[in-house]
Symmetry: C2
Subunit: 244 residues, 2 copies
């Protein structure tokens, strides 16, 4: 039995996230369908994380076990021949038996994109939010730095998740700007439900002066979701990198 | 009466090009509808060029005459408030009475994008063509250089156009590559019907060895459409810059 690690890239616009569910099209489902086409077996791939409805992935990893005999490179072609245009397998490797796409993940990087301009960018309608007013990047970066380190991020977690620990380590969190496009990058050993989107919503409140840039520490310590900002829209969020 | 010059950006995926026509949605039509909303007059804007169905514009210019009293900046907001998400007015200026968006255009730049990779890029499905095999950029650039200058480009013009002259001046034509994305840029004083797409199709034939890289001169001189390559798909073409 081979343990096969796939790397994907997908446009999440038309999907209800990664995780399979009834009455909705998900990335896990269309990938399982493609795997069934080439292996003739019903096999559910294990993802590195769940992504929400509308969230995209520049890089997403998953693994599945199969006795398929095709070489790795041929698996890429065979799966891509059976996947819709918006989900693409970019790499395939046969890995150790005990490799697990979720548990073995050392860190993930997400990016969140904001078109900061009086006018919209029609090409980024499904891939960024539009923010009409000037953004105070310096204040947002001052605030974002306070996220770095190991903290209980309950204040940045949507109600309804049931994880064992709400402690996560953030390695890096930073806004950068190129022309009209502001990109927030955040890397951590893991993320709670909606955590990146709540962080972005909080940082936009910092830019607007609704939350003081010095207050992120206190919001973390409060462990109270009500003290953080709103959950920013999903469509601008990309899982950007997965490290093992 | 003011003469108003608008600069647009649009995603052409959902449009049958710029030019108004019956039974099809065009950019000119949705813009005319928005102009009517704010001026209460039926006014047809004059475009800098026609773009084909599915072709995009990072920059497109058009002008219209109206006695509207709104300041230029307010016209941008008012029009954007009445346009669909995929057509955006990025600038507005009141110009001389005799300014004409098409006749006064000194040069235009188009770009054409090619994902040159064994796997597709799901995010560029409507904005680039996918080319699975290695591209010979050096040969294509050697061929493209022969386009520069003033020539009769009949060989690179689709049948069915009725222009007075088929002579055009090309200032620059070059392929560049960044990671998997190959971009062809071409600037000229004007372009014949499907000219850029036929040039790209011809350059792909050069890369494949189906047309010799030295033969572009002869193809131009032949004035025979049959000697050039096929017309490349519309979705990867962008009007990128318009100079007055």
């Amino acid at each position: 039995m081979r343990n096969i690690l796939l790397t994907l890239k997908y446009d999440g616009t038309n999907y209800h996230g990664w995780q399979i569910q009834e009455n909705a099209v998900t990335v896990q489902q269309v990938l399982a369908d493609a795997i069934e086409k080439i292996t003739k077996q019903k096999i559910m791939p294990t993802g590195c994380s769940r992504t929400d409805s509308g969230v995209h992935a520049n890089m997403f990893c998953c693994n599945f076990k199969s006795d398929i005999t095709l070489p790795d490179k041929e698996i890429i072609k065979a799966l891509n021949g059976n996947l819709p245009f918006d989900v693409v397998v970019t790499d395939c490797m046969t890995v150790n038996d005990d490799f697990h796409a979720r548990y073995d993940c050392k860190s993930k990087e997400y990016i969140y994109r904001i078109v900061a301009s009086p006018v919209r960018n029609p090409f980024l309608e499904n891939y960024a939010i539009h923010y009409k007013y000037p953004l105070n990047i310096d204040d947002m970066n001052y605030a974002a730095k306070q996220l770095i380190g190991t903290h209980d991020f309950s204040a940045f977690c949507s109600v309804g998740s049931n994880v064992q620990s709400t402690e996560r380590q953030i390695f890096n969190a930073e806004f950068s700007k190129k022309d009209d496009l502001v990109t927030f990058s955040i890397e951590g050993d893991g993320f709670l439900y909606n955590m990146v989107r709540i962080i972005v919503g909080t940082m936009l409140y910092v830019s607007q002066g609704k939350i003081k840039k010095e207050d992120i520490h206190n919001i973390i310590l409060s462990k109270n979701r009500e003290n953080a900002g709103p959950t920013a829209p999903a469509k601008a969020l990309f899982l950007n990198k997965v490290n093992y």
